[in-house]
Amino acid sequence: MTPTEYNKCVDLYADSIYRFAVKMLKDGDLCHDIVQDTFEKLWMRVGEVAFDKAKSYLFTTVYHATIDHIRRKQRIGDELGLEKVGDSVSMVSPDLKEILQKGLSLLPEDQKSVLLLRDYEGYSYEEIGQITGLNESQVKVYIYRARLFLKNYIGKIENVI
């Protein structure tokens, strides 16, 4: 990949990478640092990474960076701003999108990340497996569990409303 193609990658994928980080962490400053580190790593290997593999490389890097950060915070007992399920039902007439985003924030990081890659980026099970380091069956199960959780969460909110 040439430096010019690197800048093209920034144009093409910066928004997606930033969205992934925001959905995973919900911390603007932290997302800024992680996204910047992600692209800096790509720049350091600009001669090694092919242009058509750059998107996977970026998502792999940002995935591991966010997961590492979440697990590090969990080890020191940080709540990471995640709300409990019971807290989310206090919303007044929320629309489906808000409910879904709330439910998404409550998902475990593994399920949330594969669901984001699946729905937002349209990656296949195999591609998600390459990015996350999971096998295809694990990806399938995580997606299944994530949707099952969201279905139950939406149903629960709708019943309350």
């Binding site: 010019t4 928004d15 930033y18 996204v35 879904l100 096998n135 199960v141 279905k151 149903g155």
Partner: protein, 377 residues
């Protein structure tokens, strides 16, 4: 036939993947009627699988075998997810449709699953420009070589141009009307050449012609003075004397304001000639007029002394120019050699008023030759 006595054999065959689809259906059916063995089955599954599955991952509504996982993942929920992920077979699709159509509760569950699909959400990275890098256009080896050799060729052409046209360029710069351009004579052979070309030649043209005339005028005046200037003055009329005095005064002022610059030699010689002619006319007027004007006499004497000084200066500068002119041929010859052969020979010389060589210096690279009139090297 699966019984409570041989179920362990079926369990092992199942986890080893040796059970046919019919046997799997039979095993799951058997487990649904034996809850305690079903618990044991899932417990064993969790221990042998790559990662744990929970019992809630399954339901008794529909069954599907996931061969890649190695255990069953067949539920109505799974079919809903498979439909959402476009990962459903025709038979599964048929089973799912039949289930939804036959049960409103299952239909509501299916609709909820459809809503779990995340819609595309645009989030713009606010610091995208910070991530970009400055990119310089990389040139190929051919382009780099082309630029390098072109630059060298251009530099060589410029050097040749200035070498072959050195005298013209220097002369053009010296004659430029632009007051901001200052021509500084180099400290090489060109210094000699430039001085000879620009200054002495001008003086040589004008001064050499006037020198003889000036000498004649001065000698005539001295002769007139010695033969009786007072006699001529007595004969000059008073009115004519006054008029002549008025004509002499600006000429005297003009003479006194002259500088010693050799480039003004021609003008000064002309002025002196005019003064000499005026003086002659005065003498003629005085000759016819008896009155003697002492003031005029003193003025004429001052004029004579200044004219003598001018003559001395002109004579000295003419001698120097004549002497230096002898080095002109050598300087030009060496400059021509430098231009043609590209050498860098420097030559300088000094001559006395009689045209004799006083000192000479010539340098060619590390070689240096110098000579003085004493004969030392």
């Amino acid at each position: 036939m699966i019984t409570r006595k041989n179920y362990e054999e079926y369990f092992l065959d199942y986890f080893d993947g040796n059970l046919s689809d019919e046997k799997v259906e039979e095993l799951l059916r058997f487990l649904s009627f034996n809850k305690d063995l079903e618990e044991e089955f899932y417990l064993l599954m969790e221990q042998t699988a790559d990662f744990s599955l929970e019992k809630s991952d399954f339901s008794n509504i529909t069954l599907k075998r996931e061969a890649s996982i190695g255990y069953e993942l067949s539920t109505f929920d799974y079919l809903c997810v498979a439909e959402l992920e476009h990962d459903i077979t025709a038979s599964e699709k048929q089973l799912l449709t039949a289930s939804i159509d036959s049960n409103d509760k299952l239909k509501a569950e299916f609709n909820l699953f459809q809503q779990t699909k995340l819609e595309d959400e645009v989030i713009v990275c606010p610091f995208k420009d910070e991530l970009k890098k400055n990119v310089f256009v990389a040139r190929s080896n051919f382009q780099r070589n082309l630029i390098t050799y072109s630059s060298i060729a251009a530099a060589v052409l410029v050097v040749f141009y200035f070498t072959l046209n050195e005298e013209k360029v220097v002369e053009r710069l010296a004659q430029s009307d632009d007051p901001k351009v200052e021509v500084v004579a180099p400290q090489t052979t060109n210094e000699v050449v430039k001085e000879l070309v620009l200054k002495p030649l001008v003086a040589d043209n004008g001064v050499s012609e006037n020198r003889a005339k000036l000498k004649d005028d001065v000698s005539n005046y001295k002769a007139n003075e010695n033969s009786g200037l007072n006699t001529f003055l007595d004969k000059h009329q008073e009115t004519q004397t006054e008029g002549n005095l008025r004509s002499i005064e600006p000429e005297m002022a003009h003479i006194s304001s002259k500088s010693v610059d050799k480039l003004d030699l021609e003008n000064r010689s002309l002025a002196i000639s005019l003064s000499e002619s005026s003086k002659t006319s005065v003498s003629k007027g005085v000759e016819s007029n008896k009155a003697v004007d002492e003031n005029m006499k003193s003025s004429v004497e001052t004029l004579l002394s200044k004219a003598a000084e001018e003559k001395e200066i002109l004579s000295r500068e003419l001698s120097e120019a004549t002497g230096r002119k002898k080095g002109l041929f050598i300087a030009r010859a060496i400059n021509g050699i430098n231009s043609v052969l590209g050498t860098n020979i420097e030559y300088s010389s000094k001559y006395d008023a009689d045209g004799n060589l006083v000192a000479m210096n010539i340098e060619a690279g590390p070689l240096k030759y110098s000579k003085k009139n004493e004969g030392t090297k």
